[in-house]
């Protein structure tokens, strides 16, 4: 495929904003990409520094840099946290724009379609960002428009869509985390939290590895991405309960909270039919940044689960 040379055509206008960035690093703790890899190069601040390097000629464009700059879930939490009011995601989008069509362009966290695609076009219709197109018999993702929300991953009936780099937010990674945690002695419950709605503490540190926590919070990009098999998996692995946290009504631009509610309602019904207490699966809606509310919801849930005791498979 023919490529064009890399130019900082769209990035040029951000020079003074990048000077304003005081590099305080307050964006780190909010970034799901950084929290997964814990490399500073994956934090929002690093993205700004790399762009600064490209603009000043101190860094040469590369596939590696393109990959870093294209790895963003657009949760906007860095933008809200920024001391200097730097519009990080707008700048990242322009970086993707400048890399698009060059030899360095990479998908990062944007979605890719594999050969299992049945061309049903459900993903094209579902994309809230008009990033997916049907061109000459194939589905293409516009890496600039794609905001890695995963609506296409969720809707694909053939599981032919995936985010290229998931940073621990895809189903296999979450299943792996569930299995690892539930292998511990005192493990009782899994809490699935939507990246937009919840705000756990202990962001970057871990308690004594010999300590025995009763529950584990797992990050998912959106409540709508929590499919039923994923929610049932902990119970199949002897968890005592599963709590799902998602945004309040009207707060989710993908209606992910509506989907999460539907899934949880259906699963509660299923448990009931199986003569299992339906309260072993619960849903809580948490407003953005409401740490206290989220913790209180977890505490209440754990009280219920502890009263119910272990789940006996029959």
């Amino acid at each position: 495929m023919e490529t064009r040379p890399f130019e900082t055509k769209h990035l040029d206008k951000w020079k003074s904003n990048l000077d304003s960035c005081i590099r305080c690093g307050y964006c780190y703790e909010h970034c799901p990409v950084f929290k997964d890899t814990r490399w500073e190069s994956d934090a929002p601040r690093a993205k700004m520094i790399m762009i600064y390097g490209l603009l000043s000629g101190k860094l040469e464009p590369s596939t590696y840099i393109s990959d870093k700059l294209s790895s963003c879930f657009y949760c906007q939490r860095c933008v809200v946290a920024c001391s200097s009011g730097v519009p990080l995601t707008d700048i990242i989008t322009d970086a993707k724009r400048d890399f698009q069509g060059t030899e360095f362009e990479t998908p990062g966290t944007t979605s890719v379609t594999n050969t299992d695609c049945a061309l049903c076009l459900a993903c094209v219709r579902a994309c809230p960002h008009e990033a997916r197109e049907f061109i000459e018999g194939k589905i293409f993702t516009d890496t600039v428009k794609c905001q890695s929300c995963g609506a296409c991953v969720d809707i694909c009936p053939n599981q032919a869509v995936a985010t290229h780099l998931s940073y621990g937010t895809d189903r296999p990674s979450l299943n792996q985390e569930v299995a690892t945690f539930l292998g511990k002695d005192n493990a009782k419950a899994i809490v699935f939290g939507c990246n937009w709605s919840y705000y756990p503490d202990l962001q970057s540190s871990v308690m004594d590895p010999t300590a025995d926590p009763e529950y584990k919070i797992l990050i998912n990009m959106c409540g709508g991405r929590l499919e039923k098999p994923l929610l049932l998996e902990p119970l199949l692995q002897s968890a005592w309960g599963v709590l799902v946290a998602c945004c309040p009504d009207g707060d989710c631009e993908h209606d992910g909270n509506v989907k999460a509610k539907t899934h949880v309602t259906a699963l509660r019904q299923l448990l009931k039919e199986m003569d299992i207490d339906e309260d072993r699966i619960q849903l809580v809606q948490v407003a953005h940044g409401d740490k206290t509310g989220f913790q209180a919801a977890i505490d209440t849930f754990m009280e219920t689960v502890n009263k119910l005791g272990p789940l006996n498979h029959r």
Binding site: S20, I22, R23, R38, M50, K58, S62, S84, G85, S205
Partner: protein, 476 residues
């Protein structure tokens, strides 16, 4: 990249924990300061044994090693001026033990301050040094800088809370310093020396920290002053009166204007605002302290006195101070907020004069400077607002910074209260501590004969901070 045996480092920490891409090196070459340089390689150790192996390897080849936590330092402490290995300590992030009966906790250096306090909260205690950057600052970095924050007036700085530590020396050997007891008189307390040594003496791999009970009552008050000097006199009087505030903050008129301009908070356009706080386990004790501070403020012409115990009300009163940092960053599209001469300390009686002098120096040098800070600890913060792409602005900044530090020394103040020295303040530090520099050099040599740990900092730093490294900005 300089020639370095990367496969050897990979054999120690694994391939996933070594970075050599130019983009990674560029990112790890800067922090929150104005400086920039590049390491040759970034390595993430997971445990003490790996740190020991890396140090032994580096010492053998005389390779520089810079230890790095959150990278939130403001003076260039983690900028690798001589290249070498940057040790990213964020993987050593375990809270190893919380021991309420013996009143200590043990943590690895990569634990984030806020995370530690979150973990301590269920025990009804907190770790008090807490700088403003506590959401990303690591305990290791705070130890390196002897960090402190708004409550240092009552609870002290990091050094006051560190009981002991395990440190890997440049040759790879491990030493245990300090104790787990509240007091110790057992020879040189070398752990206290490590605090504030900016990664030049050893690599901290574990710290034993004390904590204090979370007070049940907290009250925050505010007073406005038409004259800066009156606010200064109130500060000195409060601190001399026997009152122990848990916070005493000064905000100057430049800061007030910045907050009003960018945040529209409608703060009164006076010359100075004082924020004062008291905390205790019984309300009467807090009442006593707050009343005493209000009386002093009234005596010196303080107006619009207000105070509250309510958390929401306190947040409202503190809003102007809290929004100051972003307000200065957003003050103008062409001006950037830089951390230079940003945390000197002066005697209480000189607080107002210092703020006034800073304004005069800024005006004389055609830059904008604000003065605010934890005046209860004698700490004055400033930010220099300037056009960082203009060479002449750097000349002005260089001149202003030199004049400020000359004044600070003249009133027997000190170069840094809480951000440390690094590169930016090295010349002022050397001028202030001129008669003990040789002693410090000998101590450094005793710990690190090959000068591999964070070379080019403190006594070893360039005398001109503007040309010591590349600046992070592109200057026309």
């Amino acid at each position: 990249m300089e020639k370095i045996d990367v496969p050897r480092l990979i054999s120690i920490v694994g391939e996933k924990n070594v970075k050599t891409d130019p983009a990674d090196l560029y990112v790890y070459g800067s922090d929150a300061s104005v400086h920039s340089a590049r390491p040759w390689v970034v390595v993430r150790p997971e445990n003490t044994e790996q740190v020991q192996a890396i140090m032994a390897f580096a010492n053998q080849g005389k390779i520089p090693v810079v230890t790095r936590g959150g990278g939130s330092g403001m003076c260039g402490q983690t900028v690798p001026v001589k290249g070498g290995i940057t040790l990213d300590m964020k993987r050593m992030n375990q809270i190893l033990e919380i021991n309420p009966s013996d009143v200590f906790c043990r943590v690895q250096p990569g634990v984030v301050d806020d995370d530690l306090n979150h973990a301590l909260k269920p025990f009804g205690v907190f770790y008090p040094p807490t700088p403003a950057s506590s959401r990303i600052a690591t305990i290791g970095g705070e130890i390196g800088n002897n960090a402190s924050g708004v409550r240092s007036v009552k609870y002290g700085a990091t050094r006051d809370s560190v009981l002991g530590m395990k440190v890997v020396l440049p040759d790879g050997s491990l030493v245990t310093l300090g104790a787990r007891t509240r007091v110790e008189a057992t020879g040189y307390q070398l752990h206290k020396l490590i605090v504030g040594s900016e990664g030049t003496l050893g690599v901290v791999v574990e710290a034993t920290l004390s904590f204090v009970p979370i007070p049940k009552f907290r009250c925050l008050g505010m007073a406005n002053f038409d004259r800066l000097e009156d606010a200064g006199a109130a500060i000195a009087d409060i601190m001399a009166s026997g009152v122990v505030p848990s916070m005493l903050e000064l905000v100057d008129s430049v800061a007030i204007k910045a907050v009003n301009k960018t945040m529209d908070l409608g703060l009164p356009e006076v010359e100075a605002v004082l924020l004062y706080e008291a905390d205790a386990m019984v309300k009467e004790a807090v009442d006593h302290e707050i009343n005493a501070m209000q009386e002093v403020c009234k005596k010196h012409g303080g107006k619009g006195l207000t105070s509250s115990y309510d958390a929401k009300e306190r947040a409202k009163i503190f809003m102007g101070r809290k929004k100051l940092f972003p307000a200065l960053s957003k003050f103008s599209d062409i001006l950037s907020s830089t951390s230079l001469a940003d945390d000197m300390a002066v005697p209480y009686s000189k607080m107002a004069e210092t703020a006034r002098t800073i304004h005069e120096i800024a005006k004389r040098n055609n830059i904008i400077m604000t003065a605010y800070g934890h005046c209860g600890s004698g700490c004055m913060h400033t930010k220099i607002l300037m056009e960082p792409t203009r060479q002449d602005q750097w000349e002005s900044a260089r001149k202003a910074v030199a004049e400020i530090y000359e004044y600070v020394r003249s009133v027997k103040g000190t170069t840094s209260a809480e951000h440390g020295i690094g590169i930016s303040k090295a010349s002022a530090f050397k001028a202030e501590k001129s008669d003990s520099l040789d002693l410090m050099r000998n101590i450094k040599k005793a710990f690190d004969p090959n000068n591999i740990l964070n070379p080019g900092k403190l006594m070893d730093a360039h005398d001109d901070w503007v040309t010591a490294t590349d600046l992070r900005y592109t200057i026309a």
